[in-house]
Symmetry: C2
Subunit: 134 residues, 2 copies
Amino acid sequence: MATRTAAQQRVDAKLRYDAYVAECPTRHLLDRISDKWTSLLINALAEQPRRFGELSRRVAGISQKMLTQTLRNLERDGLVSRTVTPAVPVRVEYALTPLGLDLLPVMQAIKAWAEANMEEVLAARADYDSANGS
Amino acid sequence: MATRTAAQQRVDAKLRYDAYVAECPTRHLLDRISDKWTSLLINALAEQPRRFGELSRRVAGISQKMLTQTLRNLERDGLVSRTVTPAVPVRVEYALTPLGLDLLPVMQAIKAWAEANMEEVLAARADYDSANGS
DNA sequence: CAGTATCCCTCATGATACTG
DNA sequence: CAGTATCATGAGGGATACTG
């Protein structure tokens, strides 16, 4: 039944999935990729494939638990690959998959937007807080 | 000291703020704009300015509490404007600010990506789950 | 209509300790 | 090194009821 092109399939998907609908599985996916650790990790892995320890240093402040958990989720969702090299000690390397690479531009954009507009937001908050109570 | 152009200021901001650093305020901003309700609300407000009740219907499943809370945060951050028209009953309309409009493309992209790639992710999960235990 | 105010509870996340 | 396991906490978020 390979009569649908990739482009047609994408159109179909857009019709089938609508994140405005509460029961849509897209909600969960949106939740996952809208995670702060996800955006930081995808960005960090885009710089270069990295080992567990490297990642925890690059993404400062992430706990071992959240790093493991987020990486597992990303691996399960097909965004990140996990390669184990048997050795002593064992070497585990994480990298973006093609699907992860496809998501990358969005993750880069969101991180870049936050960094670029931090001061404007800070100013808006100051305005809001002085206009309203405290 | 208005010797810096807008472009230069953006470059400065990128140097000053780095979301990889744990203490960077960007982390909080990233968290906020990486919220599932935020992306849905920004998208909904881009379609047209909307009233409270319209929003709660458009973004199905959101509770009154989360809607209020998220709107307040977005207003405080300067992404959304809130206009009250005195009348009986009172009319309150929410709309995107220029800053919110600036963020819109990113919010559209993330929602669109989730909807477009849902099936690939679902397939990846099925693979992962059958490869590993259950 | 557009909220605010409470109660309540689950789950996300961090801290700590242990392991192949 | 690259995790897993366990415990503890508090914030996120839903349900319900009330108000200008």
